[in-house]
Amino acid sequence: MKFRAKIVDAACLNHFTRVSNMVAKLAKACTLRISPEKLNFIVSDKVANGGVSMWCELDQENFFSEFQMEGVSAENNEIYLELTAENLSRALKTAQNARALKVKLTNKHFPCLTVSLELISASSSSRIVTHDIPIKIIPRRLWKDFQEPAIPDADVSIYLPVLKTMKSIVEKMKNISNHLIIEANLSGELNLKIETELVCVTTHFKDLGNPPAGEFCAVCSFTFPTCFRGTVAEISARTPGGLWLPMSHARGESRQPAEAAGRAGLLGLRAVPALRFPGTLVALLCPCLPAPHPGWHHEAEEVSSFLLRSQVWCSQ
């Protein structure tokens, strides 16, 4: 097993830092999947327990100037490892002004992901900061738990409004209510709504347009925790029974697409970042309920950080 990669481009480095920050906000532990073409950050809390799942995909060639890897074996040319996302994000804190980033798999008494940053210095001598992040190699037999999820169809798809506006609205609604009701239809209308004893607030968006993927269904409505802080590039959801959300289409679209579906079930959030990094994708899945449910608050924190990050990320 071998892995060694290098980023020299400042924009790529910045982007990679943002991705890792987002993952760190979402989950304590995450899985990193390394394959010759792609790098995946995977969070797979059990959705049944109200947890949030995430699938983040980065095309290796868009980020790394050098990328060498050798998987477990020739036919299984992949590496799955578990790490504390916070550690990676902390290691990359110094990356802001770094000239280059090197990541490699090392064994220093225990397996580590070694992150070295070459910093800019006023003098000619270069400074290098190295972090060793302890990791756990995930054995081959557990890989099946971390596969790219299957894609169910969405009932309703809708493009989201300007993220900044939506973010501000959701933030204010979050102050007032624990749950947000999202309504969307195939006529390009989206409502964000909260209802409490004190106040009812509804924001109506219209003329948003629907991605061609949506086919049928009148109006769908579901409840979503308002603890989410930021906003999304894309939302999608499906009726109960399924596990994951669609994430194959709309890659590299210049407009931020959104999909929402299901009278109840799962809400998917998908961030499609700037065109600069085609093939990069973050998808997050969280359960949503037909009625407010107190058990929601836990995972909502994770959703919130995701949204917060993806907003920053998408608005690049």
Binding site: S168, I176, C200
Partner: protein, 281 residues
């Protein structure tokens, strides 16, 4: 917009209708008195007065004159209701408190009368938000009986002169002592905290002081925890008038200029904490 049509037809049913092109002209002033959750609103044909009180010792009033609004109709002599100010402010700033340049949030506010919710219709860039805020039974507000004929000392100064002093008040001190006098030290703010006492003197002829009308030496103490919230208004204001009456009651009047250059006033009343013993003054 189907939501707005019926509401325009029923205009006569509302005891209060107010429209504003820039919601920030209202929200900014309300933020200046937002130190408690609830506020009482009084609307007359002259405008709206919003009152917030704490501990029966301090009262803040924000005055938004009818002229600030593009449309302002009050059907009754006066309209009074109590409202959750936190929620109201969240609703007013739902499109964000620092909007993108060139975009304004328009507001239309309607109230049908006793027992009805306050309806807000906010619009920005074609997106409409409708808020229905339940109103509450109005509470009796304090009458400080602060009469200008009883005013002993009055100083008007540029807010910047007080801003730093207030933001850096020694919060370990329980009281803020205000000395106003026709003689030295003229105008002094004192705190008595864990780390010692501090005195801040303003000379009478300072450029910051616009008007100095002190007739008698007065030394009064006010609970610092009650005065601190007035910093919110101070930060927004351009001028402040500090007055004390014969009972030692304090009135702070803040002049706030909104984005359209119109003037609004926010007023704080506070009662003195205790009599200062002769020996100390």
């Amino acid at each position: 917009m189907p939501l707005l049509t019926p509401q325009i037809q029923d205009e006569n049913d509302y005891s209060l209708v107010a429209s504003l092109d820039n919601v920030r002209n209202l929200s900014t002033v309300l933020k200046a008195i937002h130190f408690r959750e609830h506020a009482t609103c009084f609307a007359t044909k002259n405008g709206i007065k919003v009152t917030v009180e704490n501990a029966k010792c301090v009262q803040a009033n924000a005055f938004i004159q009818a002229g600030i609004f593009q449309e302002f109709i009050v059907q009754e002599e006066s309209v009074t209701f109590r409202i959750n100010l936190t929620v109201l402010l969240d609703c007013l700033s739902i499109f964000g408190s620092s909007p993108m340049p060139g975009t304004l949030t328009a507001l239309r506010m309607c109230y049908q009368g006793y027992g009805s919710p306050l309806m807000l219709f906010l619009e920005e860039g074609g997106v409409v938000t409708v808020c229905k805020i339940n109103t509450q039974e109005p509470e009796e507000t304090l009458d400080f009986d602060f009469c200008s004929t009883n005013v002993i000392n009055k100083i008007i100064l540029q807010s910047e002169g007080l801003r730093e002093a207030f933001s850096e008040l020694d919060m370990t001190s329980e009281v803020l002592q205000i000395t106003m006098s026709p003689d030295k030290p003229y105008f002094r703010l004192s705190t008595f905290g864990n780390a010692g006492s501090s005195h801040l003197d303003y000379p009478k002829d300072s450029d910051l002081i616009e008007s100095f009308q002190c007739t008698q030496t007065q030394v009064n103490r006010y609970k610092i925890s009650l005065l601190k919230p007035s910093t919110k208004a101070l930060v927004l204001s351009c001028k402040v008038s500090i007055r004390t009456d014969n009972r030692g009651f304090l009135s702070l009047q803040y002049m706030i200029r909104n984005e359209d250059g119109q003037i609004c006033f926010v007023e704080y009343y506070c009662c003195p904490d205790e009599e200062v013993p002769e020996s100390e003054s």
